[in-house]
């Protein structure tokens, strides 16, 4: 997009770019936070690691952001994955039980958890591609059944984890940042390379835009769908590892509860439409961070948890409205006519 600046209509393009409005809202919230609490934006270095509210936001937003990256791929194909929360529970249950109760080495336990998450994604993908179930219905199956599976694995108990390697993702730091943030960085980079340096991104968008046209253009529609759901499962698996590391336990009942809705919201805030097609990975990460920032800012302003959903809903609505071309067109029409009224005698447009 090097020509955006030189192009006289560059501004219009920026306004249309998917992630713009989430970014604007994020900036506004950060400013609001800084006004409410002067130290809000400050970051300091202690013991070879960065501390401060912005770092906290990144740290706590990472789990949703990682799930949202996988969700973005699925939504781009005009699908949705409701099972990510349950997959988080499964992955955390597997890693915790293997390490704490079966005495399995941590690398194998983690690989086992990720493998299961991958299988879960492939299962969803198969239901969608081969049985042609609607994505909502197909993934609802695992959303409901997955928690039961996680309960089976943990035997209905909360399994605590003492292995430091497993807990590493939860509190350790890596390259100045909390390990979760580093994990998010790695996964974002992989997702970006996988979609934008290969043709996978174009294929995803084509399938989401018009599946029949994609097939007739020779795009391997089924493999593309399978890979999208598998990648989404894998992302949920990583989020499961983070969840387990963070609370140092696997809680099959609560791990990843309502995470699917947070992830979908992050994707939508980031400017990817639920109707499939064009997607923005960066937008989804920003969307996740936007919600985390909002939580922090409400905390700064002492908004009680009971009424917090109301301002949240207002911000979400505002961003979604601003993303809508129809709404923006209506706004500029009103601006235009207001301006014309202010200057009587002159024409509305030269």
């Amino acid at each position: 997009m090097t020509d955006a600046a030189s192009d006289p209509r560059g501004m219009a393009r920026v306004l249309r770019a998917p992630a713009t409005w989430a970014l604007v809202a994020l900036a506004a919230l950060l400013v609001a936070g800084a006004v409410g609490s002067p130290g809000f934006l400050s970051v300091e270095m202690r013991d070879g690691r960065l501390y401060g509210t912005p770092i906290d936001i990144l740290n706590h937003g990472s789990k949703v952001a990682i799930v949202a990256i996988g969700m973005t791929l699925v939504i781009a194909t005009r699908g949705v994955d409701l099972s990510v929360g349950a997959v988080v529970a499964i992955a955390s249950a597997i890693v915790a039980t293997l390490v704490s109760q079966k005495g399995v080495a941590w690398p194998i336990a983690m690989a086992g958890a990720l493998g299961a998450a991958l299988l879960a994604g492939l299962w969803n993908g198969s239901l969608v591609t081969f049985l042609r179930l609607q994505p909502i219905v197909a993934t609802l199956v695992l959303m409901v059944a997955g928690r039961g599976i996680a309960q089976l694995i943990t035997d209905g108990q909360i399994v605590t984890v003492r292995d430091p390697a497993v807990a590493f993702l939860g509190n350790a730091s890596l390259l100045l940042l909390p390990a979760t943030v580093s994990a998010l960085a790695v996964i974002s980079a992989l997702a970006w390379l996988g979609t934008r340096r290969t043709a996978f991104g174009l294929f995803l968008e084509a399938v989401g835009e018009n599946e029949r046209a994609a097939r007739l253009s020779g795009i391997p529609v089924r493999p593309v769908l399978l890979v999208a759901y598998a990648a989404c499962g894998l992302c949920a698996g990583v989020a499961g590892l983070i969840d387990c590391a963070y609370i140092r336990a696997a809680d099959a009942n609560n791990a990843g509860q309502l995470l699917e809705l947070d992830a979908i919201l992050a994707v939508v805030l980031g400017g990817t439409a639920l109707t499939g097609g064009r997607f923005s990975l960066l937008g989804s990460v920003i969307g996740a961070m936007l919600m985390q920032t909002l939580t922090k800012v409400l905390y700064v302003f002492d908004v009680s948890a009971d009424i917090a959903p109301a301002p949240k809903a207002a911000i979400v609505l505002a961003v979604c409205l601003l993303q809508s071309p129809t709404f923006r067109a209506a706004c500029s029409r009103h601006l235009e006519s207001a301006r014309a009224r202010l200057r009587p005698g002159t024409e509305a447009r030269p």
Partner: protein, 504 residues
Amino acid sequence: MLAARGLRKRFGPVLALDSVDLEIRPGEVLGLMGENGAGKSTLIKCLTGLHRPDAGTIERDGRPITLRSPRDAEALGVSTVHQEVHLIPHATVAENICLGREPRRNWLLGGSIRWRRVRERANAALARLGLALDVRREVSTLPLAIRQLVAIARALDIEARTLILDEPTSSLDRDEVERLFSTLRRLRGEGLGIVVVTHFLDQVYAIADRIAVLRDGRLVGAALAASLPRAELVAMMVGRAIAPAAARASSEAERPRAAALSARGLRRRGALDGVDLDVAAGEAVGLAGLLGSGRSETLRALFGADPIDEGAIEVSGRRHSIRSPGAAMRLGLAFLSEDRRGDGILPSLSVRDNLITALQAQRGILRRVGRREAAALADRLIASLRIKAPSASTPIARLSGGNQQKVLLARWLATDPRVLLLDEPTRGIDIGAKADVLALVASLREKGLAVVFVSSELEELAAACGRVVVLRDRRSVAQLRGADVDPSAMLAAVAAAPEGGARD
């Protein structure tokens, strides 16, 4: 009377309509003409509440009106069929025709829909077009031409005073066009004001009383059809005089050539019942037939888009079973579908992405068509097909219908195919571009491509093809070559006593 006064509509950098004045008078058929992207559809969308004009007014019987939605227009007696047929694919024909105005029982009885009345009304609307069709069928199972007729029937179902048809005949055969026109003439007699957009000169002179021409968003003129010579009309549309359409395919010395593609006994339940076809490298073969004779189905079967039950397909002399479009592309086949919206465009992706999809699929997922290569390719194709688009990064849905069609044709040219299967490739494109496409087909043929060409315009088949295979009742029944490849001979062969008379 419905009238536009000084209508202006801008889309970003494109001024699609520029102070357009137009009157639609009762008891008159107005032909609206113009090149692709001239602004015809935009004008219609402004008149029917789909777009809000930036400036200017719309008047009904001399009073200015504001249209906020298509419903407003319908309430004022304006009934419209838009260029891209908008029907609900999984609803039945009857439901589509009566959608939004279903006859209901008294509210005391719960206001439920009177389904028998719905079906009767749908049947009546179809009968007006001379179409007998099971109205309980799902629209998605119907061929495109029938869907177009259903959309027209829907427009005829309401008590309209003004009827607007944007390229209603683009996928219809002669018979259907004739039936539609006689219906329109009757409605004109009843005092309706009618607007018809078309790219066919013959059609506009057959139906229109008055012709209005748009060019680059401006009304360049309106005149009585009887007093407007063809050459002048063409000059008004393109802004210059152009030579009459491409020269006929030189039926050069018939030296025997190896078949690039040959099919024997293609069968598929409900679609094909024994089609044989050969096409050699450097040859263009036409497929002629009535609606439902199996032309599109043949191309789809050859390309692996629909599986066949029986039959053999050979490519370059080797037998292959083509199971998917991807497999067909690896053998050098390319297929342009007639259904632009359903099978072709990726609406919100850019023109550039739309151009490279097939090429990218052919190369595979790992060898990405780079940014610079894609830009160069897009520039070249946009220039060589004279595609009118603000830029290569504009979403394709913002292009006019004809320009979208050119993008889809270009998508396949980018894959450098050996066999080109074209289903109505000139659908909805203007006369200048039509000549361009025919010339393009001729030059590709000379370069050694094999072309299979389907068109319901027999003149076009005659101009493009050296040989024509006639299909009837889903079967290949005859071949015309040499001097027999001319419209009247084709018409005779196509229409020869239909056994069984099954029409779909």
